[in-house]
Each structure stands twice: as structure tokens, then as C-alpha cells.
Symmetry: C2
């Protein structure tokens, strides 16, 4: 284990891991120095308040499918601007599989393979994302320390049903959180299962931030990620990624019940 | 094999079969006499022309999931009237699993376990259905005789992609078609897999009519029926059911490409 001091103390270590997530065999291959980019890329990606049409409330919207992504369909035709018309909260990725997407408060962030979070322009295209207009139906304050696995069981126990879809927002202090991102790919695209064999991972300690994600039913095949799928953004919005492990310390869990699920399938 | 003469010659034989569909072991247990009800139940279920909002075109709408139905959730809260607000074409079932649903030209038909098709009232509730506003994107005239399995391969070969959803309408002359229905259940509801062990089946020879159905991608788990799912209604709209076997003779195949898939998940 090699610890690298960065400008942002929240990113304490970066390693190259093998494996998709918790429970898969991982081995540290090398440690690579990285630079924290000071400041965000200035973009035209400003959020604006809209009166929502009633049909967009309580709707889980997804563009394309996990199946397509697993098969290497990393280029989509939807823009970040179009995605934001369908939700202000969520997660996904960008064309060429260029990093992890976090949608929070109407802004779209990319955590690229350098571990840095940037606001993305409305013109950027995406191959896969899941978003919603987040409105908490249930709020739980959790001051107990627990790891991601215990956290999921804890949330399962407070949900009214297992067969609908939920938006999950977890905000507060994490004593530990480990994320990954995926590096931008070049054609011919490798399969996702091969890409993540060398995924860069990031560890955070005593970090404030927000997990955005969803809990989808187990019966959904490869339409989307079944069960919990979490992305993370630090409080200062400078880092984050796809959550691999976590230890919550003092968080507020907000749950949005979503019974209307809309899937836009790319035709190309 | 016992052949029973009915008022409607299109229903030539009714047997009790074991098995879900083609390829499963079936054995004839008994033959039961039945009566053809002369005329439909008069209902307030009249279709009306509406100018569709653009968002409803190219949309596959489903209420609840196959998973829920497989688990015995046979009572839903959606009415036939509400279902018709989401499509004029499709299939499903009714509360208490009371027969097979065919939605055609804005009318909702039930083929109950007596094999008779009836127009259903807007107030009738349903647990599961898939509908769309059908508009053919592709039309194929098929004068060649082929069975259901060959027909599916034939349609597969003309589709532009396998990863989106399609509405399929097949109208014309069938040299043979075998359907089933499901009998109305009483609580405590048995699982669907047990219900269909004694499903009534119906055979038609040299029958004119229409298959309504869908082709959904293979990756969808138990969200809905993966692959092809066909229901049938005779030309005189007096009989039909869930298609188990067929031999087409001279038909027009209409295919509606649907890239927007909306799933309304019951919360109870």
C-alpha cells in the first residue's frame, strides 16, 4: 500500500485495482501519482429552476440499458442537456466510457480516471444514465457506524416494498469510502468486464459528501443494475466515483419512492 | 381426442392441457363441453378517438411486471379505462387472473376459460398488461406457410435491432392456431406455474384472425415476457387466447418499433 499526499487531503490514496466491486478479487498493481486540477472547467452547464410537469415526478428515467453497456456500446446520442430534462439527480457515464457520472442538484459531474470531479457541459454525449427529479418520501438520520453491506440491509428494512424502484441520497460524514472510475476508452471498445480489470480506485477517510444512487428490484435482468448502485461526490465537489466500499458515520438517508420507470432505448 | 361441435366452427376442440406453451409436455386429461355465448356483453367500454400527445407515440407501456404475476399478485388497481389511456393495442390479464386480455383497435377483450371473447367494461381492474398506440413502422406480407417457431425466426430476420421493443400485429389466415386461457382464481392465489398446469386450451383450423403481441429483448429478466408474446383474437372477435402454437398461411405482419418503454409499478 502506497499513500500519496495530494493537494486535496480527501483523496488519500489511489491504486489500480482488479475487480468490479466488493467481494471480487482485487490486487494492487501499481500506484500512480496524480494532480488535482484546481477549479472546475467553466461550462455553460448552469442549472435552472423549472416547474416540473406532473408526469416527471415520481419517475425513474434511464437512457439505454446495462446490457448495452456490458456489450461495449459506449457511445450514445443523448446529451447532458437532454438528460437534465429528465431529472436533477442520478448517475451514469459518458461517451467512450469517460468516467463516472454524478447528477446532483441539477448539475452533471464527471469523475474521470484521474479522480477529479468536473462539471460537464450540456453538449457532452452519454451512452447510459439513470436520473430522477428527487423528492424524499422518507428521511432517516443514521448516527450509527456501519459498512456498505450493513447500510444496504438497514435501508432494505425501512423500505415499504422490494418490488419498486427507489432513489437513494445519503449525505453526511463517511469514516471511509472507496470509489473507482473508468478510463476513457478507444475503439475498438473492450467489454466493460475487461475495462474494470484495471480500474483506478480512490480512498477517502473522514470525508463529508453525498452518495447518489438507486435501489432497483432483483428481477430486472440486465435492464439496469439490480439492487443498490451508488456513486459518490465529496462535499467540496472535487472528487468521487462509483462506490466500492464505505463506512458511514453520521449521515442522513433520503429515499424517493418511484413507481414509474421510463426507459429510452437507443435504436442504433 | 374428442371433437366437440360448437355454434362457432372456429372453436373445434377444447382440451385440458398441462404445460405453459410449446415444447412442454402436455397430456389431454379430459374434454369438457362448453357453450358459445351468443353476442358480447354490452358494456360502456366504447373506444373514442383522441389526438395523441406526442409522448404516447412510440411508447410501450406496461402496468406491473411479469415477476409480480409469477408470484401470484393477481389483483391490481388499474382499470381497463385507465389502461386504454396508454394504448389501443396489446395484451394482459384481469384481476383474479380471469382470462387472457387482447387489446385491439382501442377495445379490450377478455378470453375467459370458457374460450369465449367478450368486450370488457372500463371499470374492470387488471393486475398486468402491456399496451401501445400501434403504428406500423414496417409491414411484411407473408404468403408462405410456417409454424410459430419459423415465424419468429422470420420476424427476427427483418427487425432492425434485437435490443429494442416491438409491437407485432399478424392479421390474416391461420391454417392452425392453438391458444390457452387461464381460469379465474380464488384466494389464497396459487402461483402462476401451478395455475397453468390445468389450463384450458383451444384449437382453430383455417381461422381468420389477428395475433397481437410484442417482442421484447432477452435481457429483461422478469420485468416482462422476454422474446415473443402473442395473444390471438378471431376475425369475428368471439374467441382467442394466449398463443401456444400456430401455422400461418397468408398473413400481413405489421411491426411497430418502440424505443420508449414505460413501466408503472404497483406500490401495493
Amino acid at each position: 500500500m502506497i499513500y500519496i499526499a495530494g493537494i486535496d487531503s480527501s483523496i488519500a490514496k489511489r491504486v489500480i485495482d482488479i475487480g468490479l466491486g466488493e467481494g471480487t478479487m482485487r490486487s494492487t498493481l501499481s500506484a500512480i501519482f496524480f494532480t488535482i486540477v484546481l477549479g472546475f472547467i467553466i461550462s455553460g452547464c448552469q442549472s435552472s429552476h423549472k416547474v416540473l410537469p406532473s408526469t416527471k415526478q415520481n419517475v425513474l428515467f434511464q437512457y439505454s440499458t446495462l446490457d448495452a453497456l456490458l456489450q461495449g456500446a459506449y457511445d450514445g446520442n443523448m446529451s447532458c442537456g437532454e438528460l437534465k430534462d429528465n431529472g436533477d439527480f442520478g448517475l451514469g457515464t459518458f461517451n467512450a466510457l469517460d468516467g463516472e457520472m454524478i447528477v446532483m442538484d441539477g448539475q452533471i459531474y464527471q469523475v474521470a480516471s484521474d479522480g477529479v470531479a468536473r462539471v460537464m457541459d450540456d453538449s457532452i454525449k452519454i451512452p447510459f444514465a439513470t436520473v430522477a427529479y428527487f423528492e424524499a418520501d422518507q428521511t432517516v438520520a443514521l448516527k450509527q457506524s456501519m459498512d456498505c453491506s450493513e447500510l444496504k440491509t438497514y435501508i432494505d428494512d425501512v423500505l415499504p416494498a422490494k418490488n419498486i424502484t427507489y432513489g437513494i441520497k445519503i449525505k453526511g460524514l463517511f469514516s471511509y469510502i472507496k470509489t473507482r472510475s473508468v478510463p476513457r476508452q478507444t475503439k475498438p471498445y473492450p467489454l466493460l468486464v475487461d475495462v474494470i480489470k484495471t480500474q483506478p480506485t480512490f480512498e477517502f477517510f473522514q470525508q463529508r459528501g453525498t452518495i447518489v444512487g438507486f435501489r432497483l428490484p432483483e428481477y430486472i435482468g440486465e435492464v439496469n443494475v439490480a439492487g443498490y448502485h451508488f456513486h459518490f461526490l465529496t462535499q467540496d465537489k472535487k472528487a468521487g466515483g462509483h462506490v466500492l466500499e464505505c463506512q458511514v458515520k453520521d449521515v442522513i438517508i433520503e429515499i424517493d419512492y418511484m413507481s414509474n420507470w421510463q426507459i429510452l432505448l437507443p435504436t442504433t
